[in-house]
Symmetry: C2
Subunit: 441 residues, 2 copies
Amino acid sequence: MDIEKLLVDKDFNELKKQLENKNIADIAMLFEGIEDKDKIILFKLLNKDIAAEVFSYLNPDMQETIITAIKDSDIQNIMKELYLDDATDFIQEMPANVVKRVLKNVDNKTREQINKLLSYPDNSAGSIMTTEFIDLKSNLTVSEAFEKIRRKANDSETVYTIYITDEYRKISGVVSIRDLLIAKNDAKLKDIMETNVITANTLTDKEDIANMFSKYDFYTLPILDNEQRLVGIVTADDVMEVIQNEATEDMEKMAAITPSDESYLKTSVFKHAKKRVFWLLLLTLSASITGAIISHFEDAFVLVPVLVSFIPMLMDTGGNCGSQASTLIIRGLALGEIKTADYLKIMFKEFRVSLVCGVILSIVNFFVVWLRSGDPLVGLVVALTLLITICVAKFIGGMLPILAKKIKLDPAIMAAPIISTLVDCITIVCYFLIATAILGL
Amino acid sequence: MDIEKLLVDKDFNELKKQLENKNIADIAMLFEGIEDKDKIILFKLLNKDIAAEVFSYLNPDMQETIITAIKDSDIQNIMKELYLDDATDFIQEMPANVVKRVLKNVDNKTREQINKLLSYPDNSAGSIMTTEFIDLKSNLTVSEAFEKIRRKANDSETVYTIYITDEYRKISGVVSIRDLLIAKNDAKLKDIMETNVITANTLTDKEDIANMFSKYDFYTLPILDNEQRLVGIVTADDVMEVIQNEATEDMEKMAAITPSDESYLKTSVFKHAKKRVFWLLLLTLSASITGAIISHFEDAFVLVPVLVSFIPMLMDTGGNCGSQASTLIIRGLALGEIKTADYLKIMFKEFRVSLVCGVILSIVNFFVVWLRSGDPLVGLVVALTLLITICVAKFIGGMLPILAKKIKLDPAIMAAPIISTLVDCITIVCYFLIATAILGL
């Protein structure tokens, strides 16, 4: 179907009909690549009962375009239908004047809840949870529970998991819809509920929440406040987004890019440059130190110029070894497979891996360098430097992310670029010292 | 609780009691770090109704230890309780003699289904789907549907989504438990079902399945065979694992590591070395080409030795620029945000980003180099080379992953290490050509 053509032809009846057969997420995708005024027309054509859901799939720019173009009554309708976590995400991205107008159009209770959700730190469970869940009392029977669930089904993000709370809103158990279906109608919830409930706190790190989902195969996870009261739930769909975004963010940081939420093609040239130039600048300046060290050994390579030609290989290998180690450690830390307390184990393991890799690479390169330079001693210099470089690179690559985590920095920033620059310096110093000693310069 | 102590003391009653209050995934974690004979004792102490589920959380080594130590009747019990996708994952990892014994202990129908699932390629939807789903006919009423769901609830991986199929097992609609709860008891499924069902094929790539889950916020996705018949479903918990594993795999490939499934600490030193040494060796040898190019320009740097000291900075910047571009493109391709058809847009965007970054870095480094070398002409040589290096690195970093995808290779292997090595060569040639021209060497 050619949406743009129908919009140009103003064939709104056909357009409406076409929209009816499409999935919400696909409708939202139609808004990409059409003009702002067409976005508004398209949105107004949507059925009232799906408009809010489509709205939640749009990106913030489009949301702003639409929200500023529609009537207060339409805003009310959208805000009533939106799940609270989606509403909060949306409001977070809007400029102040839009926020004001939106919050004017929600009822007091919703406004309070949104303000509460907005107050959680960006990387916390609180920021991705929703307060729309089903909680029941333990003395209900299964059929009474079904009655209540039916009434609450429309306003809850999920009906699959039901939490059992006491009068102080403390959680005492959990039942799934499956448990309820299998149970007898007159059974009491307290007799069929699972009492061993895994929970997290509103301030738990999003990444830890994601790892809990992976470990326990959850669909929902209950979130407690500091007084141990149930205040929200996190659902699997939000966690999938967290997992994808955290991985993207880590990869960007590891490649010396300041992370952002926007996709590649939608980011402007200047934003791209801004994301990249700071780290590049910092790294060119720190690489100057390596340069200064080389200048210091000028006499050596003017006497034996062939030494210079092995610098790239030594530097690249150091960088690659460092990034292999740091990538494995950064990822292990992110997945919770490695703890900072494992640092001794890691050090010892990286040391042994370095020896195995180092010996193989050194032997091969000894012969390659001998062949190219015609001098076995030069081969020996390069081979020895290579062995030391690999050990140093793997040590630094393994330890820096752990150190970063220990001092509460993101381990991902301790990746290839920073490690290369550091390892370069050490490599060059070793190289020329060994050369001076062996070649008697 | 100290499991090991209770095992040593043979206090099995207390052990059993402690196990009762623990979550399945936590029980599975107890098996880590205890001896094989204790693993078997611990497993035998488990309640029959959770033994299979705990089993599905164990790693393949532990599964093998246990399965070879228990009776045929216990194997039968486990295989009956395991979800088919978990059973298939387990069998896939076992040696032939164990597989034979296990398959002897399942009924014919299950054996057939397992063999079917085993035949799907490793990276396909078929390999992660389960065949245990609920499908109903469209002429049932809501209360009849509930009756059937109740009976099937125990044998289905999920009861949250029910598929409506016709007599040819073709899918005609979908209802969620929520829809059923809200609907009137005498409503027919065909009147409340959603007919616009998004599906995937058994051979669809796992990564594409993961992206569909992210896009549509699914909990389950129906999988069709080539005749469009419903043959299985993929559930959110399996997709989360796919998302984590694919991200880990891409990161490892990008850091020149051969990916594996095992966690860092559990991988032996030799396996670690094996995962890393091949790429390192390949890259040292290809870095020799850069070395040969440097040798070619020996006369230049013997005349102006300070030129050598800027090689590390130029090489590192080239490598960093390339890895910034390639990381963004590789991740964009993996998330489906970028298509290979976008290559012209990417080329143009990277060119403009290069100019912005290049001009800033060149100006700063012009002054830094002038200051260090005392010669503005050397500053000019380095600044010009830097500008060209950045443009080349961003072009190669942006294009190689697209090219890889186009020729059906994994874009992630075209990352930092390969690009650095390539960019190094071009940088060095430009550097010395520009130096020769400007400094009149």
